[in-house]
């Protein structure tokens, strides 16, 4: 069998969240959780990140694959498959913009595998990052290759040390919906507003922590998600925009333009785009982002 691809690792089936977090904490950086596996299998085969010593299977944890309505809030389990999220009656009736966003993610086959938590925690798709040949800043290397290289899909906003753009469409959608994430780890659980979850070089999950629930505090009265992609069938976003209006106001969020989701009131986001600092090859993305934001707000 073609074992030349994948290096040996230990495999655990976690039965509870506590077991999973304890295992992930024990191995530290050298363990990776697996749920859908669509991103991790890529890492195992392409080896652009070191192969973990241990893989903790989260799919065996029961109860985290539900979408429920709790008062006015919508609670989504992190192990919900993307296809189940899109087909959920709660989502269809209360918040169809999530279903719209999910149906634009990847191919139907991969949506049958991928989970919500995995989508939120996925790696960026910068082509220097996902190649084993390049040891870029995000992987702990000396420099980001985008400014001096081919940066046509790079960031146009908030470039500090890394010019990769956030790949998750659900991150954009949930930011517009002002969601909060329940994060469980060895030190107990905490709630993180999704706005504070992402940082330039990844997310704020500490060692051993996993996302267990996503809570959307209020179903929007009006909301939409738009995505621009190069390939018509399925692709990662060149720019994506989500706008949601609730009783507390309107939040706009832009994905695919910066290492983190750019969010705020529609005016704030528009003015942020006005002062964009594109790289040498991606000036076109500014106009695409402006247009996609306008479409989402319409």
């Amino acid at each position: 069998m073609s074992l030349r691809y994948i290096t040996r690792f230990a495999h655990y089936d976690a039965k509870t969240v506590e077991e999973a977090t304890a295992l992930l904490n024990k191995y530290g950086e050298k363990a990776k959780p697996i749920a859908g596996g669509t991103a991790l299998m890529d890492i195992l085969k392409k080896k652009y990140l070191p192969t973990p010593e241990a893989i903790v299977n989260l799919k065996t944890i029961p109860g985290l694959d539900q979408v429920t309505e709790d008062g006015g809030a919508i609670k989504i389990g992190a192990l919900t498959k993307l296809v189940d999220l899109a087909e959920s009656s709660v989502i269809k009736s209360k918040c169809p913009m999530i279903a719209d966003a999910v149906n634009l993610i990847s191919s139907p086959q991969l949506r049958n595998m991928g989970t919500v938590g995995g989508n939120l925690c996925q790696q960026v798709r910068c082509w220097y990052y996902v190649k084993a040949d390049f040891f870029c800043y995000r992987k702990g290397g000396p420099v980001c290759y985008q400014p001096g290289g081919d940066n046509r899909y790079g960031a146009i906003l908030q470039q500090k040390v890394c010019n990769a753009v956030i790949a998750s469409d659900l991150a954009t959608t949930f930011t517009a919906l002002n969601a909060s994430l329940k994060v469980e780890g060895p030190g107990g659980s905490r709630d993180v507003p999704i706005k504070d979850f992402y940082v330039t070089l990844g997310n704020t999950l500490k060692q051993g922590e996993i996302i267990t629930w996503i809570t959307i505090p209020e179903a929007p009265s009006k909301g939409s998600f738009k995505k621009f992609k190069i390939r018509k069938t399925w692709d990662f976003a060149v720019a994506s925009a989500a706008v949601a209006t609730t009783s507390k106001g309107t939040i706009a969020a832009l994905g695919g333009v910066a290492p983190v989701v750019v969010s705020g009131t529609p005016d704030e986001v528009t003015s942020a785009l006005g002062s964009a600092t594109p790289l040498s090859m991606n000036k076109y993305k500014v106009q695409i982002a402006k247009t996609i934001l306008k479409e989402a707000m319409a």
């Binding site: 040996r8 086959q109 049958n112």
Partner: protein, 224 residues
């Protein structure tokens, strides 16, 4: 003279030893193959965990699968993808491997009623699942209506992507008996055909669901 003899002897010796070596290798191979063949029924010793690894770590385990209606129990290494396991351990070579990264869809199988690229599933994670491969689509040794229509309508040219397309199409038709053209195109969007025969593939699905009349020269027997 004596030196020559010596050399001859030496050569003979080396020949013998080479023969012995080859024989030994063949015996080893046979034993190895027998062990691999018997893997479905008996438990091999299994790979040893490296020094320093925690004892409870699982490097591979017995899983039970229902493949094409037949329940099997087999030992899998934790690293094996479902595609590799089906092809090499179960001998179901109809599931072809294209890109091996879940992008082309040629390794699509139906897992618990849902189409998935089997190269992206770890076999160890598929424990207890029901799997249908292209070998399970035909009914009683006869091709299914879907396959028959696709062949008659020349949906495939080289045919490498065929099993993947058929499994994706079957997963759709199992759920919905009369999908619209948009739904068909959406359901097949994870499959790539390098001959770009998409039009005929979608058309044959419309024909098999009774939404379109087959071309006359095909239905009359004179194949296009």
């Amino acid at each position: 003279m004596s030196e020559e003899k010596k050399e001859e002897k030496k050569e003979e010796k080396s020949v013998v030893s080479r023969r012995a070596f080859i024989g030994g290798t063949i015996a080893g191979l046979v034993v190895g193959a027998a062990a691999a063949y018997g893997a479905t029924t008996m438990m091999p010793a299994g790979p040893k965990p490296p020094v320093g690894a925690p004892k409870e770590a699982i490097r591979g385990k017995f899983i039970s699968l229902t493949v094409n209606g037949k329940a099997t129990s087999l030992w899998v290494d934790a690293r094996w993808s479902l595609a590799n396991t089906l092809r090499n351990s179960q001998g179901l070579r109809g599931t072809v491997k294209g890109c091996d990264y879940g992008e082309c869809g040629s390794c699509t199988v139906i897992v618990d009623g849902r189409a998935m690229p089997s190269c992206m599933v770890l076999a160890i994670d598929a424990d207890g699942r029901t799997i249908q491969t292209i070998e399970g689509v035909s009914e009683g040794g006869k091709l299914s209506a879907l396959q028959e229509t696709m062949i008659k309508h020349r949906a495939f040219q080289c045919g490498f992507c065929g099993p993947g397309f058929i499994m994706s199409a079957k997963a759709l038709l199992d759920k919905k008996s009369r999908p619209t053209e948009d739904e068909i195109r959406e359901a097949l969007s994870g499959n790539v055909c390098r001959c770009t025969g998409y039009h005929r593939i979608v058309e044959s699905l419309l024909i098999v669901t009774g939404q379109k009349q087959p071309l006359e020269r095909i239905s009359s027997g004179a194949i296009a």
